[in-house]
């Protein structure tokens, strides 16, 4: 398996603020790589370095076998980028912008473009300034997905999209993956990345704190369960993987490690469940749980 993105130990400072602090990231060709982190963790900075828009202060960056700063133009022919906050020219229509981006990249497939416009339900005749945020996002997504490239760099690409369009987006990413494309998908929502990514890297305060396949990261995911039961839930506490059990008059709250979820749910069923809420772990919970100490240490330094 070859490597599409290989970042080794890069630093980037903006004045006195250290945005990236020894970041490493490897993305294998043909995979969807989830790039997870809270706001301000350094996701966009990393992607801009990959695009050659910023230059790393230190470290080595390889993108599709080239140097993103020196070979920017050559590499950009083989990749497409969708920023989290798409800005369009106010007096160009969405259709014009899509065609323009495709042509600037060096190739366009008009059939695929029209098909994507339909799937994303975009009216390409409207001027850039009249689009809502979600529609501007669609313009950039269509331009990226319609081009025949090896790598998609997507920086929180679905911000502002409704759930229906989010589903279309997921479908398109699966198709891209099936066509052998590599995708770097950055997001701050774990659930969004989970459904698409083969590999996940978690960035926090400028460095990667966790990386691996979903199974590798299973130990990180802990589901919150909130249930109303008829009989006493005390026995649940004895099960493996259950944490922080509270039982107040039949209102049970606890958290359970992902790998033990099946067993716990079976036991829960025996208790006569009358109401049940199960929440997947959020990135914030996950980071708090596993890196809480580190955050205070970093906070003290910064």
């Amino acid at each position: 398996m070859t490597t599409a993105i290989d970042i080794q130990h890069i630093d980037k400072r903006f004045g006195r603020i250290k945005a990236l602090d020894g970041l490493d990231l490897r993305v294998e060709t043909g995979t969807v790589h989830g790039f997870l982190g809270p706001n301000g963790a350094g996701k966009s900075t990393t992607i801009r370095i990959l695009l050659g828009l910023l230059r790393a202060d230190r470290g080595r960056v390889q993108l599709l076998g080239g140097d993103p700063w020196a070979d920017a133009v050559r590499l950009h022919r083989r990749l497409a980028y969708v920023p989290g906050d798409v800005e369009l020219w106010p007096n160009l229509t969405g259709g014009e912008a899509i065609d323009l981006f495709a042509r600037l990249r060096g190739g366009t497939d008009p059939v695929r473009r029209d098909e994507l416009c339909q799937r994303f339900d975009l009216d390409p005749r409207k001027k850039g300034r009249t689009y809502s945020k979600g529609n501007r996002q669609k313009v950039a997504l269509i331009a990226a997905l319609a081009s025949d490239v090896d790598l998609l760099l997507l920086d929180e690409p679905t911000a502002g999209l409704d759930p229906l369009m989010e589903a279309v987006f997921q479908e398109c990413i699966r198709e891209a993956c099936a066509a052998g494309r590599t995708v770097l998908l950055s997001s701050h929502i774990l659930a969004q990345v989970e459904v698409l990514a083969d590999q996940i890297s978690i960035i926090r305060q400028g460095r990667i704190v966790e990386t691996g396949s979903l199974t590798d990261l299973r130990h990180l995911t802990r589901t919150s369960v909130d249930a109303i039961v008829d009989s006493s839930a005390a026995q649940l506490a004895t099960l493996a993987g259950v944490h922080g059990l509270q039982d107040i008059d039949g209102h049970v709250r606890f958290e359970v490690d992902g790998e033990h979820l099946a067993v716990v749910v079976r036991h829960l069923g025996d208790l006569g469940v009358r109401g049940l809420t199960v929440r997947p772990p959020t990135l914030e919970q996950l980071l708090l749980r596993h890196y809480g100490d580190e955050s205070t240490r970093h906070g003290a330094v910064a």
Binding site: L51, L53, A72, V73, E96, D99, L104, P124, R129
Partner: protein
């Protein structure tokens, strides 16, 4: 236990008129905070400009004979066109000359201050979406417009007081000084009112300031025609009374000291403001009065590279500038015959001072060439400023993420603008040529005029390249380029009167080519300026290539 009585703010009762302007005071303070640099820069800047004119003139005028020399030009129709009606120029004093000749330019500056201030805090805020947040708070429908008008009125008053005080402090008559200050402030007020209307019409802040600015230009030309007719003693001198700038000049400070023309200004400003309020109540938030239309679903086949994109982005502005410069050229060209007529009626010694009627024509046409070159310089600088917004608003990033290099990106914008420069000069020259030919019934000056205009191209190129270097170094220092343009204007117009030393004059890029047809075009200057511009543009490209994107 003590009871604490919490006083809650009393809300304006619904249905009361006060509800529409709720929050005006807070917004005004907020605008003052945002404009903490801009406010003193405009007001002090205009006062200092006037102070500079006064100091320079006092240094230059040492004897009554010097004053008479000034009258010779300023009392002529050409002087009236570029100065004013020239009240009391037959018995000239320094303050009369300052108010009558230079007052016009300070007043134009005040007009720009007024209209730009209003656009900045209304339509520009709506366009950016920030106003939506403001309007969603406890803020009345008319609060924003009311607050910015209060701000503009305050700026106008400060300018009036500063200039009035400055003139009085130099020992000129107190009444005349205050009136002169007020007449400058009145122009700011009028064009703030005009902008209150234009911001309602279009969704674009640039269109709003462009329309108001064009009206300021019309006001300048109208009073120019009227004042010229007045100086000749025949013709449509009433045209001056159609111009808001004219009303301010008709106060005749230090001569008649009339305050009543300013009543017209005030009434006009109030009417415009009332119209602005009425129009703003008829439109949706964020919308203009003209609804948007759908555009093409696909890009035209030619829109396929960075150069084509740059052209597409500059196209609207190029068309606008072409139309504007053509109109200005036609207007100024048509002044040619009245100018000559005025001169043949003038006393013989006066004609002699100006070097004869033949030179006067060439001198006028040459000066117009320089004027148009400076105007095209403004175009070039504004074109560079669009690069700044392309970068700060994130669109440059999207383009540079495709197979477009930094060099190609900045280079394509430079090429499009650089090609636009001789084109616009050609259009302006053609307008002047046609206007002059129709006016004099003789097309003989047409070729010379075209050459005289287009010859300035390398000077504007150098300005453009210098602007590009500033932008490449750091986008926020780009506005420094206005200093070069302003310097070129002062040197170009006032070097002889203000006795600016030749070595200082040479610093202006516009001072080398020569004002054809009065002077010969210097081929050496053209070649040297072109080379300098090419080298400077290359520096800009190299500097930009090494920098990151997304700077401020």
């Amino acid at each position: 236990m003590a009871t604490v009585l919490v006083r809650r703010p009393v809300l304006a009762a619904p249905g009361q008129g006060g509800g529409r302007v709720t929050g005006t005071g807070t917004l005004l303070r907020f605008m003052l905070r945002r404009d903490r640099i801009r406010f003193p820069a405009w007001t002090l800047g205009l006062a200092l400009l006037m102070g500079y004119f006064a100091t320079a003139l006092e240094t230059f005028v040492e004897s009554p004979a010097d004053l008479e020399g000034l009258t010779a030009f300023s009392g002529s129709p050409a002087g009236a066109l570029f100065g004013g009606p020239g009240f009391g120029f037959d018995d000239l004093t320094i303050e009369r000359f300052l108010a009558g000749q230079y007052g016009l330019y300070v007043a134009i500056g005040a007009g720009l201050m007024g209209l730009l201030t209003v656009v900045r805090h209304t339509r520009a805020e709506e366009r950016s979406g920030r106003a939506e947040l403001i309007r969603a708070s406890v803020v009345g429908r008319h609060a924003q417009l009311t607050a910015v008008l209060a701000l503009a009125a305050t700026m106008a008053a400060v300018v009036a007081i500063l200039i009035g005080g400055l003139m009085a402090s130099r020992g000129y008559g107190l009444g005349g000084s205050l009136l002169f200050g007020a007449s400058v402030g009145a122009v700011a007020l009028v064009f703030a009112g005009v902008a209150a209307v234009t911001v309602q019409l279009s969704e674009y802040p640039r269109a709003a300031s462009g329309t108001a600015g064009a009206l300021l230009g019309v006001a300048f030309v109208l009073r120019g025609l009227g004042d010229m007719a007045a100086a000749q003693g025949s013709g449509a001198s009433w045209l001056s009374w159609l111009s808001p700038v004219g009303w301010s000049q008709q106060t005749a400070p230090y001569v008649h000291d009339r305050w009543w023309p300013l009543v017209i200004s005030l009434a006009f400003a109030l009417t415009a403001v009332a119209a602005g309020y009425a129009l703003s109540a008829r439109r949706d938030f964020g919308a203009g009065l003209v609804p948007p239309r759908p555009g093409p679903a696909r890009a035209a086949a030619w829109l396929d590279g960075p150069l084509a994109l740059a052209f597409r982005l500059h196209r609207a502005s190029l068309i606008g500038w072409s139309v504007g410069l053509l109109a200005a050229g036609l207007a100024y060209g048509s002044f040619t015959q009245p100018l000559l007529d005025g001169f043949t009626d003038a006393p013989e010694d006066m004609v002699a001072i100006m070097g004869g009627a033949e030179n006067l024509l060439d001198g006028y046409l040459g000066t117009m060439g320089l004027t148009m070159a400076l105007a095209v310089g403004v175009y070039a600088v504004l074109a560079m400023q669009t690069l700044r917004s392309e970068e700060s608003e994130g669109r440059a990033e999207s383009v540079l993420a495709t197979a477009v290099s930094r060099s190609a990106w900045i280079g394509s914008h430079l090429v499009v603008t650089a090609v636009g420069v001789p084109w616009l000069l050609l259009v302006a020259g053609a307008g002047m040529g046609v206007g002059a030919a129709v006016s004099t019934g003789d097309a003989g000056s047409f070729g010379g005029l075209l050459l005289g205009h287009v010859a300035h191209t390398p000077a504007v190129w150098l300005l453009l390249a210098a602007a590009a270097v500033l932008y490449a170094v750091a986008p926020r220092v780009l506005p420094l380029i206005w200093v070069v343009l302003g310097y070129g204007l002062i040197v170009g117009y006032f070097a002889p009167i203000l006795e600016i030393p030749a070595s200082a004059v040479r610093l202006s890029p516009f001072a080398h080519v020569g004002e054809h047809p009065l002077e010969e075009v210097s081929v050496v200057a053209v070649l040297v300026l072109t080379m300098l511009a090419a080298v400077t543009a290359q520096v800009a490209r190299l500097v930009f290539r090494r920098d990151v994107v997304g700077r401020t």
